[in-house]
């Protein structure tokens, strides 16, 4: 049970104009699963390597239970990292791999033997002690890597993209295993991922990092229901952004006025956003607008429509059965449920964020997605 505190953590690399990690402040609670989420190159892995002690911060501090650990060597920190490509020592058996940390700590042979057995049971790989790593599948290697880290009872477990090298079916299995082990052992766990869905499913809290800066830190549902900025909303799969003027309860846009009680700003220049699943196709009455279907995609479990409303493209996801009732070019009515609308601050110039929807930049429905 260890809580991890990052304060003004910064890492600059020579020859790079901007810091890779830029003054990150983060309070990671003891015994929780926390995701560091961001696109590749955002500094999330650099942050993790600094926590592990494999990189020295340029400035700032890292504390375990209030004690600074930046000057402590990685092997004495109690933070164990599991790398993305597992890194099982290829010339060692599974037993030797799993017991590596115990050997480094001078644990007796009999105790080691027993603990290796227990640990392999825990990751559901009993009896594989004498195999070599290359004889194991990717998923098995991943579990051995996890066992090798857990056997030393780390204060903090660091997982680098734990699911990215696995195929879909193994991914679910591994996800369950990590959740279960973490629940049983209550080890403070930090993992790095670029996949917002993976972060949402696996973690108690998500720290979103973009361009080396912490954007937001909170439970997964906040990111989907109440994102703090257009950029965050976009990263979490948001696609509908309509700029307008907000007076605290109603937002006036170029396509009409919408009542919107939920917002991240009190009033002023705002952006209406609504998730494609919440757009009601055929809905009439208050908060509805007329539109014309531009194109659609049938995806089996759902159908995705791209609708032109007064020059603004709106994406809507609906019951797949609607596909047979609605043809491209049809005029339809759309309703935005006031409780589903979320009003954000308009991004300022220089943020590098544009409102793709208002520029009609999203030509095809299929290409619109939040992940990188």
């Amino acid at each position: 049970m260890t809580n991890v505190t990052l304060s003004k953590l910064t890492k600059e690399f020579e020859g790079k104009p901007d810091p890779s990690v830029d003054h990150i402040d983060l309070e990671i609670e003891s015994g929780k699963l926390t995701a560091l989420l961001g696109p590749s190159g955002c500094g999330k892995t650099t942050t993790m390597r600094m926590i592990a002690g494999l990189l020295r911060p340029t400035s700032g501090d890292i504390k375990f239970d209030g004690k600074s650990i930046v000057s402590i060597a990685p092997e004495r920190r109690g933070a164990v990292m599991v790398f993305q490509n597992y890194l099982l020592f290829p010339y060692m058996t599974i037993r030797e791999n799993v017991s590596f940390g115990l050997k480094m700590r001078g644990v007796s042979k009999t105790e080691t033997r027993q603990r290796v057995g227990e640990m392999l049971d825990l990751v559901q790989l009993p009896g594989l002690e004498d195999r070599m790593p290359k004889q194991l599948s990717g998923g098995q290697q991943q579990r051995v890597a996890l066992a090798r880290a857990l056997i030393v009872q780390p204060k903090v477990l660091l997982l680098d993209e734990p699911l990215s090298n696995l195929d879909a079916h193994l991914r679910d299995e591994m996800r369950e295993l990590i959740r279960r082990l973490q629940g049983e052992l209550k080890i403070t766990t930090i993992f790095v991922t670029h996949d917002q869905e993976e972060a949402a499913v696996l973690s108690d809290k998500i720290a979103l990092i973009l361009r080396g800066r912490l954007q937001h830190f909170g439970p997964p549902e906040e990111y989907f229901e109440r994102p703090a900025s257009v950029e965050i909303a976009r990263f979490f799969g948001g696609v509908n952004f309509i700029p307008g003027a907000y007076d605290g309860s109603v937002i006036a846009t170029s396509i009409g006025k919408f009542s919107a009680p939920r917002s991240s700003i009190a009033s002023g220049a705002g952006v209406l956003t609504i998730r494609p699943e919440a757009v009601e196709i055929g809905g009439e009455g208050a908060n509805s607008v007329p539109g014309r279907v531009v194109s659609h995609v049938y995806a089996g479990r759902y159908a995705r429509f791209l609708i032109d409303v007064g020059g603004i493209r709106i994406e809507a996801v609906s019951d797949p059965k609607r596909v047979s009732q609605i043809a491209d070019g049809d005029s339809i009515s759309l309703r935005f449920d006031p409780n589903e609308i979320w009003v954000l601050a308009q991004p300022t110039e220089g943020d590098g964020v544009s409102l793709g929807a208002s520029e009609g930049g999203n030509g095809s429905v299929a290409s619109v997605s939040g992940d990188e």
Partner: protein
């Protein structure tokens, strides 16, 4: 060479499993051709040497010696001769040269194989230079320096001069090893609780061992067979086996030259037998002998 490719190439069972039996058959045919070739070109020439060493009279056109004797071997084993001293010198020099090559060559190879730095191409070129430029030319130039610093006519001087041809091989082999080496394994070991020394001991050295063995083999044998540089810098004071062998060969005593040649060959064969498991087993998993 990737890790898996290397493992596949070195493990017949894997080959059969991966791409059917045909490639395995071709590999084993190739293996026999290589073995027979090696026997013909490497082992066969030794046979006359052995015969010479036991001969008393062996004249044209006889295929085998007409009279045998142990004279040559008695002479070689006699303590009044320089053979024991020369063997001792040769061994000490070759071992020390190899040890120094490891100390210098492993870090140098690591830097060349793992890191990018300005002027890397130039450094690579300079390292190969002693192999390209005739060593004798370099050594003649260095000789004056050696005399000035009192290194000529001494064992230390000979060791230093042997490093000129030996070290580039060690560095090149290690650079090849480290080019295929993933230093993240070291980070992983640190993270699991190994300090710097234990990381080297349990992770780095086992991973580079095959390359280390190959490189050591090269440097040992280069030093062991060096003649010109030993003669030049040792000034005839430091007597090694090649010097002795050359003397007997020149004086026309084929029997003793043959016996000496056999002695001369033995360490090479011993080292090869002793290290062959490193050369061919799957130990190279984390690195490899890439550039070779």
């Amino acid at each position: 060479m990737t890790m898996s490719a290397q493992l596949a190439a070195e493990d017949d069972a894997d080959l059969v499993g991966r791409s059917g039996g045909r490639r395995a058959v071709r590999v084993s045919t190739l293996r026999w051709v290589v073995i027979i070739g090696l026997l013909a070109f490497l082992i066969a020439p030794i046979i006359p040497l052995i015969l010479w060493s036991f001969s008393f009279r062996w004249t044209f056109p006889n295929l085998l010696p007409t009279e045998y004797s142990m004279r040559a071997w008695e002479a070689v084993a006699s303590p009044t001769n320089d053979v024991l001293l020369a063997t001792w010198n040769s061994t000490v020099i070759a071992v020390v040269v190899t040890a120094l090559s490891i100390l210098i060559g492993v870090p140098a190879g690591r830097a060349l194989g793992l890191y990018k730095f300005p002027g890397k191409r130039l450094v690579e070129l300079l390292i190969v230079a002693p192999i390209i430029v005739p060593t004798l030319a370099v050594a003649l130039g260095m000789h004056t320096l050696f005399i000035r610093y009192g290194l000529s006519n001494s064992l230390i001087g000979v060791i230093v001069v042997h490093l000129i041809p030996a070290l580039p091989y060690m560095i090149l082999v290690m650079a090849g090893v480290f080019a295929n080496y993933d230093s993240a394994f070291e980070s992983q070991a640190r993270s699991l609780g190994a300090n710097g020394f234990k990381t080297q001991r349990f992770v780095t050295i086992p991973a580079i061992m095959p390359g280390l063995v190959v490189g050591s083999l090269f440097t040992f044998l280069i030093s062991w067979s060096e003649y010109v540089l030993t003669l030049l810098v040792g000034g005839g004071q430091v007597i090694t086996l090649p010097l002795l062998l050359f003397n007997f060969a020149r004086s026309g005593d084929n029997a003793i030259a043959g016996a000496l040649a056999v002695v001369f060959i033995v360490p090479g064969i011993l080292v090869l037998v002793f290290t062959s498991k490193h050369l061919s087993s799957g130990q190279a998993a984390m690195g490899g002998t890439g550039a070779l």
